[in-house]
Amino acid sequence: EAGVTQSPTHLIKTRGQQATLRCSPISGHTSVYWYQQALGLGLQFLLWYDEGEERNRGNFPPRFSGRQFPNYSSELNVNALELEDSALYLCASSLEGWANQPQHFGDGTRLSIL
């Protein structure tokens, strides 16, 4: 079974630009989650999508947004990039949208802002 796949592996942008990160969940998983792992801040919850809708978001500004497509894949968009957005962005997926379903993680996209 293929795991959660994320693309690209690395992304380099400059301040003010926009970044798009992509995630394909494990087949059969309908929930997708995004996390940010910034240096010194640990893993922080960003967004949760289930059945095409945003269900919850963490404490991040509105320039962090995303969507989930009918095939359950997801995009994370970050607008007006700032230096502190440099981080590893992890995507996870789970069966349905219940908290007792373990989340399975991808390898992440490393976003670097110059």
Binding site: F45, A92, W98, A99, P102, Q103, F105
Partner: protein
């Protein structure tokens, strides 16, 4: 606000030593608890989980964790570590409200052969 704290940032052990990694959580309601592991160069993997029932849960590779509600703790244990257990370990709490996971800061374990 929910939070998870892990007591040790770095742990160094020799092979065959016993391991206990501390974890405390702060949560307002029903909490689900997990330990995830990240081996060098690999993605995060689920080690074990606790939702309800027996507070002593067993996971993969000989790991176990004990949920002590009165202490808000979920410590990870292994009787005898191996070199291959070298990894970063994350204690994680999840709530039924919003499905978000709250990660502890992680503990880097190095096992010397």
């Amino acid at each position: 606000a929910q939070s998870v704290s892990q007591h040790n940032h770095h742990v160094i052990l020799s092979e065959a030593a016993s391991l206990e990694l501390g974890c405390n959580y702060s949560y307002g309601g029903t909490v689900n608890l997990f330990w995830y592991v990240q081996y060098p160069g690999q993605h995060l993997q689920l080690l074990l989980k606790y939702f309800s029932g027996d507070p002593l849960v067993k996971g993969i590779k000989g790991f176990e964790a004990e949920f002590i509600k009165s202490k808000f703790s979920f410590n990870l244990r292994k009787p005898s570590v191996q070199w291959s257990d070298t990894a970063e370990y994350f204690c994680v709490a999840g709530s039924n409200a919003g499905n978000m996971l709250t990660f502890g800061g992680g503990t880097r374990l190095m096992v010397k052969p």
